[in-house]
Symmetry: C2
Subunit: 427 residues, 2 copies
Amino acid sequence: MEENKHVLIIGGGFAGLACAKKLANQPGITVTLVDRENHHLFQPLLYQVATAALAAPDIARSLRQLMSKAANVTVLMDEITSIDPDQKQAASKHRVYTYDYLVLAAGAQTSFFGNDQWAQHTLGLKSLDDAADIRRSVFGALERAELTDDLAERKRLMTIAIVGGGPTGVELAGAYSDLAKRALKTNFRRLDINKLRVVLVQSGDRILKPFDPDQSEYTKEHLEALGVEVVLGHRVTGVEKHTLLFDHAEPIYAETLIWAAGVGASPLTKMLGVETDRGGRVATCSDLTIPGYPYIFLAGDVTAHTDVKGVRVPGLAPAASQMGQYIGNKIVALSSAPGEHPEDPFVYHDKGMMAIIGKNAAVVKMGSMKLRGLIAWIAWLLIHLLFLIGFRSKLSVLIQWAWAYLKDKPGARVFTSRATPPTSVLE
Amino acid sequence: MEENKHVLIIGGGFAGLACAKKLANQPGITVTLVDRENHHLFQPLLYQVATAALAAPDIARSLRQLMSKAANVTVLMDEITSIDPDQKQAASKHRVYTYDYLVLAAGAQTSFFGNDQWAQHTLGLKSLDDAADIRRSVFGALERAELTDDLAERKRLMTIAIVGGGPTGVELAGAYSDLAKRALKTNFRRLDINKLRVVLVQSGDRILKPFDPDQSEYTKEHLEALGVEVVLGHRVTGVEKHTLLFDHAEPIYAETLIWAAGVGASPLTKMLGVETDRGGRVATCSDLTIPGYPYIFLAGDVTAHTDVKGVRVPGLAPAASQMGQYIGNKIVALSSAPGEHPEDPFVYHDKGMMAIIGKNAAVVKMGSMKLRGLIAWIAWLLIHLLFLIGFRSKLSVLIQWAWAYLKDKPGARVFTSRATPPTSVLE
């Protein structure tokens, strides 16, 4: 009798989870799914946890629970720190993992383009802890602004600067301005909530660069109507405490500095012995393997993949899911017919992209179709609800959104007062 | 024209919030409500956040939002560190507060009966941060138990010891055993979840001491049927890392040590210049003031009050609310007729007490009426839903409870991996 083939999946994001689902209960295959966290995170809605519109459990599901019916899948919460492609091994501080097939789907992390010291003064948005930190910073600053009698301090406390004009930056900026305009309107007695200053800083000449220029312009105008200061053509050249520095412009002083300007691949890509781009991403072969290692697959944000049709696959959730599904199917095929190595390459199916700006406003781009305004906003809501995993979460989110829409009171706006430094339960 | 009377309320728990609501929009009165956190916490359901059955925002409401329609109430997030009864002042690190009336409703904190060094090895349950810490400890330990090959370590990781057989201890013990039996049944591949060991340690000879002995016995039997080890007559005499020590019994080794054995009043009671009991509580006058200071009121867990009928007021949410309401009405009366000092004393209306044990099981005591089993469980659910503030929270909790009941899958069981040390945004 043949031994089972063992698949090691590193990362339980969209790519890793989609792959594990394809491999679930497949005969002849055992799977180990390893993630640093105990949950799959629906990252497209993470900004809503940061703005206190949703609770953390609304957008996260236990990986164990998601895999509870897949008897051949073992979920382990662990942090892989090294990969040996030739020995077919990977290791953490706790264990050595062997594999017949490796699926590296370890995702992205906030990148500071070589200025890692900026991390200590800025907040990224990749995890639930990050979202809790941003929420604590913004709402905590408003509490201290209400408390203080020092007007200069109050001004700084009431400023949020967001670096990066991608969807995350746009969505955060829109949501915080919207909060001030609606939900927080009657909450303060000493400060004027209309003076909440939200600054969105973009190095390039327009925001939402992957969208069409007129969508960028629409978004900018809509954000400005909400009260956001959109600052274009400003490249951050230094970050100090509560301060963004520029070469040819005045510094911006803000209590909360959010860094949404760049992501880079997990550092694990460096251990594969292949070239990576500036963001640590790997240009994978047409079947998402790496040259010389037909049993090592990469998926999601660790790749810089151009598919056989010449399409550069974007770092979006649907793309990661498609890659994971493709790899899952591939491994099933390979392990059931071990001699063959079928040549069907990965082909990306573009599902479009979208960003929400505020109440009744979003932009959507799907191939040649472009939407904006209310219709785009409705499309955004429906698609995000549809893809949010798990019926209960959907219902809970639907209720909260409906309530927020009707009552102008998004979210419980609760934060806890203790800060969370980077020490993990795994340490 | 008379100046407004200024009321300083310290603490936004059940007592402080009830008082603030009575004073809301009262002519001639301005109120400052100060709390260390930005939210009112529905503490009776806090254990469900610790067991991951509910999300933190389900049981907490922004104090600002609760007071948003009370134009005469200013909410400040601050930590009062001193009180001067004679100068009519209180102070924090940030401000000095003056008052015409002081309402001290600062609540209770976990007490170790003089062994404060035990705090570093045990987890209390008073705040949302505490609940997150317990959740992280318990679920994180199960993750590491699944990861490890060391059987002795796995055994320790799969042990939860809870000190204190009051409602909190009983509810936590029941909920964790229930989780193992139902929600986590198919979640693990390497460990046997049936071996999850939950130990409830009680120094006295029965649990749920304020209830009737037959209710204590029923609760003990029901917990044991769920798999909980109920250890009676064991007084903890030492706490070390992962270890409870006893004078005349073997130590108990457990990854998670939860301290639900005692609470003491906020240390602010020590600054009033009056006597306090062993738990720091103040024996208040019949009108909830302290001797010699008719303008200083105490409410809730800072009091050890015996009312005019000789009833010792228990440390329960309804009692705290009643005290807060009484004080609010009193201050309205005093400030509208400053010469008089009406003599109507505070009278406690006993609403009974209840504790939930597990699915379909609870105990209720209301005067001479005693309930247990399914009917008590239904009463528990209805009353907790009824008193949970805010319609949206109620609906969300109702859905989650219904789902958990029908699907045997309580909660998202998501935790974040970073630990939270005691540094506040206020520092």
